[in-house]
């Protein structure tokens, strides 16, 4: 007989099954599997339209669900970015939902890198208590919230931080496109245009690579347009993966794109190939700019860029002749999103070159998109928090930065100065990706509270006081996403499968519950469905219809090309001369400026960029995608053969890469696809979180070598103002 002194705490609960069990035959795995697989051929497959999260494109996808599990993913045929296709990231990143390395419950820090699980109630209470205490003692300006926004975050995150009385909402753009955004904003009144690739005759990409930062429809569009005879030029120190669609590669000296664009602009004027009518009708300050451009001859640019004056002249002339169906693609990070001290000016020069081609709002040109008209919650029933009176931290230092995005790294700087006491991070990894990791770690240690909301134990999560586990994009509904473009639309992310980990929560729920703990639940007294219904109200589309389709475009709202809109600049026109720049203490017109640092004969500039199978460090722990990295040695740095020979380095050798900030070791790919002055390192590696077993130890993180810095105009991170020395080491 049983004689146990131990208390019983059984998990399983059986009812009357015992008698059934006593007579049951086998239910072997083999038998069941055979029947299951055979039966599953006839099993109903549920299709749910949603959006990917493999990168920030959020292409439309269709999830095919069988027996409650994800069974297949396909591209949504109607979504403008996927058009029926999915890239490698789209397929590979979906593995996250069943990953064994996800965050599964709220965690509280109990030591360096050590955490204990806690309940949601405890997490909310303690976070709320700490936030309220910090605000009471230091004011609301001492708290911040940073994210790489998706549709729900875009609505809920600013609302939450505003409810705390703080204006300090930031996005990741400080290491993405802050410079491009500021450059475009103060010339064209928008942070970006979109290139009408399908109709263009001459396309220049400066640092931007559709073949690496994939949207399936962009690549297809580029391929089609090339087949129709368009000329495609890549300007990049590396021959990136758009190379096989390009006619010409200009291996520009890194950091000198501004010189190229200024010289090309000079040529347009010299050859009278700019659109005088457009300039006369829709711009201000052109004469002043034209005068400055006299200094920037192709011969002058040749010395700086390494691209021959003849080539510069030829290309500029050809683009001038092809106008308005010629353009410089606007990029995201590319070569001037956040890269050099002169990147904002490069952004301005690119926007202005497009304006000189008269391609704004023209077929084959640069399109200022339109958004769908969406509704909002009834403020009487669902009050919004008051807009804080305080200025956002960083706004005074960087008045030219796009205010909605802010300069996220100011959080770290202010933390070092004792002014920022609390930071919430959602769907982003600033500790590794926004600024020098050593600096970021030190800054974080000075804050009293760090909360991270994520799906995996990132480097940022590891430094946090509280970690709140998000559900994956496969497991959640989201707020409606507005798709802006030539033809606007809306897309909806929808839950495809049941939550795998019951203690994970989507952020609309986290924010609502945390708001309650903080004492301002009145600002979150609506459900996600109520929000979406309110947004849909003016469109005439029902929620049911949108849930069924997933992506709905509004062809009736397609922009009329050939008609120039009133711009959102102070003059309502293209500004070749900007008063805003003048007020901020900078030249109102674009002038040449050197990068901050330059390599010498024995050193290199470290540049970075994307690979088609990864997104930042987000996918570094995805086994399927990392296997491709390992199979093709994709973590290796690129070095030109001339420099490699000088240094006695052969392809595959282990080398040491040393900068003022760090020393790394990695193997080398010796290739003619990189400028001799540059070392290229892909931006996806260097994971240090030991919880990410797949990612850790592969390659190195380029950010370790980037000094913590702010570009003077936009506050961007100056990602490529890095000089390194390389030498062969044993291994």
């Amino acid at each position: 007989m049983l004689d146990s002194k131990i208390s019983r705490r059984s998990f399983i609960k059986a009812s009357a099954a015992t008698t059934v069990l006593a007579s049951a035959g086998t239910a072997s795995f083999q038998d069941w599997s055979g029947k299951y697989v055979k039966a599953s051929e006839k099993t109903e497959i549920k299709e749910i339209a949603s959006t990917c999260n493999g990168c920030s494109s959020k292409c439309g996808i269709i999830g095919h669900i069988k027996n409650g599990r994800l069974w297949k993913l396909t591209g949504h045929p109607d979504h403008p970015y996927s058009k029926g296709k999915l890239c490698a990231r789209g397929h590979g990143y979906a593995t996250l939902v069943y990953s064994k390395e996800r965050l599964t419950e709220p965690l509280k820090r109990v030591g360096e890198g050590k955490f204990e699980p806690i309940s949601w109630d405890q997490a909310y209470k303690e976070i709320a208590d700490k936030l309220n205490k910090i605000i009471k003692e230091n004011g609301p300006g001492a708290v911040s919230l940073t994210e790489d926004p998706r549709a729900t975050g875009k609505f809920y995150s600013p609302r939450f931080i505003q409810a705390l009385g703080s204006p300090n909402y930031y996005t990741h753009h400080v290491v993405c496109s802050n410079s491009r955004d500021a450059g475009f904003l103060h010339t064209l009144g928008v942070t970006a245009t979109s290139a009408d690739i399908g109709s263009a005759k001459y396309i220049m990409f400066i640092g931007r690579s559709y073949g690496d930062a994939i949207r399936p429809s962009s690549v297809q569009s580029l391929a089609d347009t090339k087949e129709n005879g368009a000329k495609i030029v890549i300007v990049d120190p590396r021959l990136n993966n758009t190379g096989n669609l390009a006619n010409e590669w200009l291996a520009i000296r890194p950091g000198t794109d501004l010189a190229l664009v200024l010289a090309m602009s000079h040529v347009l004027i010299k050859q009278n190939l700019y659109d005088t009518e457009f300039i006369n009708n829709y711009s201000i300050g052109f004469e002043e700019y034209a005068k400055e451009l006299e200094n920037y001859t192709p011969e002058w640019a040749e010395k700086l860029t390494g691209i021959s004056a003849d080539t510069i002249t030829r290309i500029a002339t050809d683009m001038g002749k092809a106008k308005p169906k010629a353009l410089i693609e606007q990029s995201w990070r590319g070569a001037f999103g956040c890269n050099y001290e002169n990147s904002t000016e490069t952004g301005r020069a690119v926007a202005l070159f497009n304006a000189m081609l008269g391609n704004i709002q023209q077929q084959g040109g640069s399109i200022i998109g339109t958004k769908p008209h969406l509704g909002a919650l009834d403020p009487a029933k669902y009050p919004s928090p008051k807009k804080p009176e305080l200025k956002k931290a960083g706004q005074e230092e960087f008045p030219l930065a796009y205010e909605e995005q802010g300069v996220a790294t100011i959080v770290a700087k202010n933390a070092m100065e004792g002014k920022m006491k609390a930071a919430i991070f959602h769907h982003s990894n600033p500790a590794l990706g926004y600024g020098n990791p050593k600096y970021m770690k030190k800054a974080f240690s000075k804050m009293d509270l760090i909360v991270t909301i994520d799906v995996q134990m990132s480097e940022t999560a590891l430094l946090s006081d509280y970690i709140l586990p998000d559900v994956t994009y496969i497991e959640r509904d989201e707020a409606i996403e507005s798709l802006s473009g030539k033809t606007p639309g809306i897309a909806l992310r929808q839950q495809m499968v049941e939550k795998v980990h019951p203690e994970t929560k989507p952020i609309h729920q986290i924010y609502s519950e945390l708001a309650k703990a903080c004492g301002f639940s009145q600002y979150f007294n609506f459900s996600l469905d109520e929000l979406n219904e309110a947004m849909l109200a003016p469109t005439g589309i029902t929620y049911q219809q949108l849930r069924q389709k997933g992506t709905i475009m509004f062809p009736d709202m397609t922009i009329e090309l050939g008609k120039m809109p009133e711009l959102k600049t102070p003059s309502k026109k293209v500004e070749f001369s900007s008063e805003k720049f003048k007020e901020a203490g900078f030249s109102p017109i674009v002038k040449w400026g050197e990068p901050k640092v330059s390599p010498k004969e024995d050193s290199f500039r470290l540049i970075t960029g994307k690979q088609a199978i990864h997104s930042h460090t987000q996918t570094a722990n995805t086994p399927i995608l990392m296997q491709i990295t390992k199979d093709y040695d994709l973590e290796r740095i690129w070095m030109n053969p001339i420099r490699a020979k000088d240094l006695g380095i052969k392809d595959g050798d282990l080398v040491e890469v040393k900068s003022s900030e760090a020393v790394s070791k990695v193997r080398v790919k010796v290739t003619e696809r990189i400028h001799p002055e540059a070392i290229f390192v892909p931006s996806h590696y260097g994971i240090t979180s030991p919880y990410q077993k797949t990612g850790v130890g592969v390659g190195f993180g380029y950010m370790e070598h980037v000094p913590f810095d702010f570009e003077a105009r936009s506050g961007a991170g100056n990602m490529q103002e890095v000089i390194v020395k390389v030498r062969k080491v044993k291994g």
Partner: protein, 225 residues
């Protein structure tokens, strides 16, 4: 919270004393075997204060050894020597091994699905939750109307659940059923143990797993392989 499993003790009125003694002996052996795996199941759950209470005064391990000795020469039993010294430490060891890098969930150690029509890139890979083995356990749970806690709903093939099921089946299921269950759902423990070994650090859970393997091997031999 779930109710404790109720084991209906069927008192057998033996017509022949000898037969009665044999049947009583078999029943005792089943109960002690079941008890072994119940205790082992507890050890694979996140340690709470009640487990620690039983553990810290050695009752839990003592009882385990006592029952295990009925099946195995006690001198050959795997020793569990790397004992946690406090609840917090036990929880920390758990968090650093069984909660993360060495998750004791069968799906992770097997091909995700045999469904050849599944087009996901990881369909034939190991390392993912909610594989076919999890669906098979769900099938068994549904067939026999057995419930498990909500937070195991998508990890029904967690070792704690598998061991509780085994403990339960030992008392109520036919030999054929038990034999098949052993074959189907415990063939991944070598890889799991290897994962624990590679982690290094405190050896407690590795030692528990080695003991578990010892007990399962014995059980397998009894059920005729």
């Amino acid at each position: 919270m779930f109710h404790k499993v109720i084991f209906p003790i069927v008192k057998i009125e033996s017509l022949v004393h000898k037969r009665g003694v044999i049947l009583d002996t078999i029943l005792d052996q089943k109960q002690s075997a079941s008890r072994i795996f119940s205790i082992l199941a507890d050890l694979y759950k996140f340690p709470e204060s009640d487990i620690w209470e039983d553990f810290s005064c050695h009752q839990l391990l003592d009882e385990l050894r006592r029952y295990a000795s009925e099946w195995y020469d006690s001198n050959s039993l795997v020793e569990i020597t790397d004992l946690p010294t406090g609840l917090k430490q036990m929880q920390q060891i758990y968090a650093e091994s069984l909660s993360g890098p060495a998750l004791p969930v069968e799906s992770i150690y097997k091909e995700w699905t045999a469904d050849r029509t599944c087009k996901l890139p990881f369909a034939r890979s190991k390392g993912y939750l909610l594989g076919d083995s999890a669906l098979h356990i769900r099938f068994i749970l549904e067939e026999f109307e057995i419930e498990i806690p909500e937070n195991y709903r998508n990890m029904p093939d967690h070792l704690a659940i598998l061991l509780e099921l085994l403990a339960f089946f030992l008392l109520y299921a036919k030999a054929e059923f038990i034999k098949q269950f052993l074959v189907d759902h415990f063939d991944w423990l070598d890889e799991f143990a290897l994962r624990l070994e590679e982690l290094g650090g405190n050896q407690f859970y590795l030692q528990v797993t080695r003991l578990l393997q010892q007990m399962l091997n014995k059980l397998t031999s009894i059920y005729g392989y």
